[in-house]
């Protein structure tokens, strides 16, 4: 006579306890870390370089210890900074037909703002006692101004925002051929509005 043998079932009742233990371990040892931020490049360290640039191509921003903002010799609110920076960068003051004429600029082409975006330099001077938080806000507005312009040109040329081009480029599942296409577009836009932000000790002569 054959008896039907059954495999005894493993008791899974303590599974929940084990999982809870693991869960609590991870809760204790882990932390959600913040990893977003403003990306900036510092200038190269080379001894005492002075460059001569035209004053119209320099957009001077300074922050004093009381966290007031001075742009081109007038005190302004932080909210106005982005628009002022855009006006400066997008001015394209070089006359048509001359070297360095900016065809894609939509600015007012005024005579005392930048000649073209490649020449345009934003200079940011801080005092030692200014707040870091305020400095970050100012940096944010400057980068924002560049992004607005790059987005505009991205829409015009490629029907796509600069920022979405960059985020597509950084996607993990992008293929190499897609990436090279995206990279070309990104480089084009960056060359149109190169970020030139300096934090100098400026000398006047």
């Amino acid at each position: 006579m054959r008896t039907k043998k059954t495999v005894p079932e493993v008791n899974a009742g303590s599974m929940a306890d084990i999982a809870f233990l693991l869960l609590i371990f991870f809760l204790v040892t882990a932390s959600i870390e913040n990893d977003t931020g403003l990306k900036r490049m510092l200038p190269q360290e080379n001894a005492k370089t002075t460059i001569n640039i035209k004053k119209r191509n320099l957009f001077e921003i300074s922050i004093n210890p009381q966290n007031d903002l001075m742009v081109e010799d007038q005190i302004i609110k932080l909210k106005e900074l982005r628009d002022m920076t855009i006006t400066f960068l997008d001015n394209g003051g070089m006359a048509q037909g001359q070297m360095g004429f900016c065809g894609y600029c939509q600015g007012e082409r005024s005579a005392h703002l930048s000649e073209n975006p490649e020449q345009a330099i934003v200079s940011l001077t801080t005092s030692r006692n200014s707040d870091y938080a305020f400095y970050v806000s100012v940096q944010n507005e400057i980068i924002g101004a560049y992004n607005v312009l790059r987005n505009r040109e991205g829409q015009r040329l490629f029907n796509m925002d600069y920022e979405s081009l960059v985020s597509n480029y950084n996607k993990v599942d992008a293929t190499t051929s897609e990436k090279s296409v995206l990279k070309r577009k990104i480089v084009t836009l960056r060359a149109m509005y190169p970020q030139k932000i300096v934090e100098p000790e400026t000398i006047y002569h």
Binding site: A12, M15, A16, A19, F20, L22, L23, F26, L27, T29, A30, S31, I32, E33, N34, D35, T36, G37, L38, K39, R40, M41, L42, P43, Q44, E45, I63, N67, L78, K79, T126, S127, R128, N129, S130, D131, Y132, A133, F134, Y135, V136, S137, Q139, N140, E141, I143, G144, N147, V166, N170, E199
Partner: protein, 160 residues
């Protein structure tokens, strides 16, 4: 005649706990994916400022962290309330930043040594003097890629 057996009153059916492990495992996996391991405990206060034009730091192995802020309460009696720099697990002076960066860079694999980013995790109450000194140090060791770590938010909230 109805043949339904009358239910005995009073005893509730037991709730099945068979799916409990699944739920807990789900939670566990959630936490495992969204968190990272703590590598150094903070000795300084670290409330980051807000910014809207942020980029994500993509690869964790290419980042060197520098923390700046007031010492936390338990260290204030020893180190005072002026903002300090924290490198790894201890306080440091500005002069040590350069050698710290070089040491960290030497620890990374060769092919990553040129693409490292320095993440500056600076408390919003710090002032610019210390930051300029750190930046100067970074320039001297040619660590030019910098990320001012911020929360994603409205930059105008920093003013209050």
């Amino acid at each position: 005649m109805a043949k339904f057996a009358k239910k005995k009153d009073g005893d509730l059916p037991a709730v099945s706990t068979a799916s409990l492990p699944d739920i807990v495992f789900m939670l566990l996996f959630f936490f495992m994916t969204v968190t990272t391991m703590k590598d150094s405990s903070l000795l300084v206060q670290n409330t980051l400022p807000n910014a809207s034009e942020v980029k994500k730091l993509e690869k964790k192995d290419r980042v060197i962290y520098i923390y700046v802020g007031k010492p936390t309460r338990e260290y204030q009696s020893v180190y005072g309330t002026e903002p300090k720099i924290q490198l790894n697990d201890k306080f440091a002076s500005v002069g040590e930043v350069g050698s710290y960066i070089l040491a960290e860079r030497a620890k990374k694999p060769q092919e990553l040594q040129n693409v490292l980013t320095t993440a500056l995790k600076v408390d919003k109450d710090a002032n610019m003097g210390l930051i300029s000194d750190i930046k100067q140090e970074l320039r001297q060791v040619n660590a030019l890629k910098v990320n001012y770590t911020t929360y994603e938010g409205d930059a105008f909230n920093n003013l209050q």
